[in-house]
């Protein structure tokens, strides 16, 4: 008894160590540009992060920061052209996703990696029943009979808590609400037990009451399956609840990254602080991202120094001319600001 506990603990320790050494997904220096954008301006610029097995990485940032483009590039779903991956690697289970053939990528999609989207109302094909759409994805990756696939689809509908699943199998998407459709999308995405789920603002388009249900559903399914997740969200409450690691993006760059505790307890980048609304002059926190004066600059208007400079209350000459590097402030906590850690430079400002 004592022995087996000890063994399990030892195995856990080894397992944890292994996870730390080789994350499930490791993205390094990912840069993406769109044809026609000004030279040298990447919509995603030098982005690096990693996701460990079973863990959750949240990506936050305002609209237009490059979150979806990052996610789509990992799935191989970017429209190319106009998008182009101009640099970087994405190591998933020992293979670089970006050097796989289109066929190999398709074999992974909906299988080892899956994605759900922001728009449940339009993400299902209006011409086919939801049952057929789920079954299709199962049959694509598994050598099983149609009847078995149907059984599996039904099981997935039960797991995402769709009432009367047998009946719902034969329903068309338009007969369902947005929340139900998102559940269908989740059932479809998880049907082949992916190791990584990318959820791109899965609740933004839904009613507030439904949002919480969908998030807790995703959480529960993640606990059951042990999959890793990249969750893109606007909702800092959700981030605090589900994230292990957080990446804050601004104008295509990571401005801050770290563990959820580090980001919430000790935010270092003025943008992150602004999002949290912890600086009164930058607006109040409202559950979602607090509003910060101004907007994300377009590719044409991109400042040459710090990209946050036009909106930053702390900006000075140096910020106008030189882009700050992403610096590691303490182990595992990174920020891209000349004046981070802020306490050091402007004592007591936070």
């Amino acid at each position: 008894m004592t022995d087996s506990v000890a063994t399990a603990t030892a195995a856990d320790v080894i397992d944890m160590a292994a996870q730390r050494q080789s994350p499930l997904l490791q993205v390094e220096n990912l840069s993406i540009r769109f044809d026609g954008a000004p030279l040298g301006i990447n919509v995603v610029d030098n982005v690096s992060f990693s996701v460990a097995k079973g863990k959750t990485l949240c990506i936050v940032g305002e609209s237009g920061c490059g979150k979806s483009v990052t996610a789509l590039s990992l799935m191989g779903l970017l429209p190319t052209p106009p998008a182009r991956i101009v640099g970087g690697t994405a190591n998933f289970g020992g293979r670089d996703l970006f050097s796989l053939s289109e066929r190999e990528r398709a074999d992974m999609r909906g299988n080892q990696t899956a994605m759900i989207f922001q728009e449940p109302m339009t993400s299902l094909n209006p011409a086919f029943t939801v049952g057929d759409q789920i079954i299709e994805g199962i049959l694509r990756h598994r050598r099983i009979s149609k009847a078995e696939a149907k059984e599996r689809a039904l099981e997935m509908l039960r797991r995402v808590r769709i009432p009367a699943p047998e009946k719902r199998m034969r329903a068309y998407p338009h007969e369902m609400s947005g929340g139900m459709r998102q559940r269908i999308m989740i059932a479809m995405a998880l049907a082949n037990e992916p190791q990584l789920l990318i959820a791109d603002e899965p609740t933004t388009a839904l009613d507030v009451t439904i949002q919480a249900q969908i998030i807790s559903l995703i959480r529960r399914l993640q606990d059951e399956s042990g999959m890793a997740m990249i969750l893109i969200t606007h909702d800092l409450g959700v981030v605090a609840e589900v994230a292990d690691e957080v990446v804050v993006m601004y104008a295509g760059r990571i401005v801050e990254a770290g563990s959820v505790d580090a980001i919430f307890e000790d935010p270092q980048h003025p943008y992150t602080i602004g999002l949290m609304g912890s600086v009164p002059s930058l607006g109040r926190r409202q559950g979602r991202l607090a509003t910060i004066r101004g907007t994300v600059p377009s590719a044409e208007m991109m400042p040459k120094g710090c990209r946050f400079m036009p909106r930053c209350p702390f900006a000075d000459e140096r910020c106008v001319n030189d882009a700050p590097p992403l610096a590691e402030l303490e182990p595992g906590h990174w920020a891209r600001c000349w004046y981070a850690p802020l306490e050091l430079h402007r004592g007591g400002i936070v």
């Binding site: 799935m75 779903l77 289109e102 066929r103 398709a106 074999d107 992974m108 999609r109 909906g110 299988n111 899956a114 994605m115 989207f117 728009e119 339009t122 993400s123 299902l124 094909n125 209006p126 011409a127 086919f128 299709e136 994805g137 694509r140 990756h141 068309y172 338009h174 007969e175 999308m185 479809m188 995405a189």
Partner: protein
């Protein structure tokens, strides 16, 4: 669904009534005394009086209309002036020829238009797309009569591959019938293929951009499944409607092509009737064409609903 169809048919009825009034008015607008027109060369007062009585030409116009329309409803479209054959009989003998021609042309149009439309949508912006568009544009701008004459000169006169004209009923010699139909059907079909291609292309491009196509790809489906199943199924909805309407137009629009290839169809019937001032025939043909058009529109609407799960259930 049945209720929807019934409703559509009910809506079609007033349209048909309006058309019948227009056709009747056409008769009223004809220059001169209609009795003289109807009587043709005949000038015998007794005959004229008989006709006047028969068509109630002394009654008020609305009464005349109802008398005429009740005849029409009984299938009596009058008698051809020139041939003494009932107009309905004439129409029924010519219509199958035109329908056969239209079906052939439609098959050719669909077989060319839809695949090229799909290919140029999928290869949007490439040389394949540009080439298809150039061909389609030429297809649209080359007049049918010119293409018809060109084909006759090359294929029939020079290479002697196909007969230039002369219709043979399929009951007589099916193979010869197909051979005579091939060129006119091609001439009619290519014109339609061009417009089908352009519509298929734009419908496919629109659909390929939609979120559910991204979902289909996110499932790992291979691109031919994404295109031929998920995208085409949705892009076809407007194409089905368009094809049905085009088919209706084909029935009426084959006039020139039928003239060139001397195919004794509906078009030729109209042209001959117009030249011969055979007004009863013209009237009958116009009425039939209009009704045919309305029916095709009806069919297009019904097919549109059938192809669209969202509408299929809510109606």
């Amino acid at each position: 669904m049945l209720r929807y169809i019934a409703k559509r048919i009910l809506i079609a009825i007033p349209t048909i009534l309006i058309v019948s009034v227009l056709v009747f008015t056409l008769q009223q607008l004809l220059p001169g005394d209609p009795v003289l027109t109807l009587a043709g060369e005949e000038r015998d007062p007794q005959v004229l009086a008989f006709l006047r009585e028969k068509y109630r030409l002394d009654d008020p116009i609305p009464v005349q209309y109802f008398a005429w329309f009740s005849q029409v409803l009984q299938g009596n479209l009058g008698i051809s002036l020139r041939t003494d054959i009932p107009v309905l009989t004439l129409i029924l003998s010519k219509l199958p020829v035109t329908i056969e021609l239209a079906i052939f042309a439609m098959i050719i149009a669909l077989a060319i238009g839809i695949p090229t439309g799909i290919i140029s949508a999928v290869r949007k912006g490439t040389s394949v797309d540009y080439a298809a568009n150039v061909v389609a544009l030429s297809g649209l701008s080359i007049p049918n009569f010119w293409l018809g004459i060109l084909l006759i000169m090359l294929i029939s006169v020079r290479w002697k591959l196909l007969p230039a004209s002369g219709f043979v009923p399929p009951t007589e010699d099916l193979w010869l019938n197909i051979k005579t139909m091939l060129m006119p059907a091609f001439v009619l079909g290519t014109g339609l293929a061009a417009s089908l291609m352009r519509h298929t292309r734009s419908a496919m491009i629109g659909v390929m951009r939609s979120d559910y196509i991204r979902t289909a790809r996110a499932k790992g489906l291979l691109s031919h499944v994404v295109i031929m199943k998920h995208a085409l199924r949705n892009a076809l909805v407007p194409i089905i409607t368009l094809s049905t309407l085009l088919f209706g137009e084909l029935l009426a629009g084959a006039v020139l092509t039928e003239q060139i290839f001397t195919i004794p169809g509906f078009g030729k019937l109209v042209v001959d009737a117009v030249f011969n001032r055979d007004y009863a025939v013209v009237q009958g043909v116009v009425l039939c064409t209009a009704v045919g058009f309305i029916l095709m529109n009806l069919l297009a609407d019904v097919l549109y609903v059938l192809a669209n799960p969202r509408l299929r259930h809510s109606r």
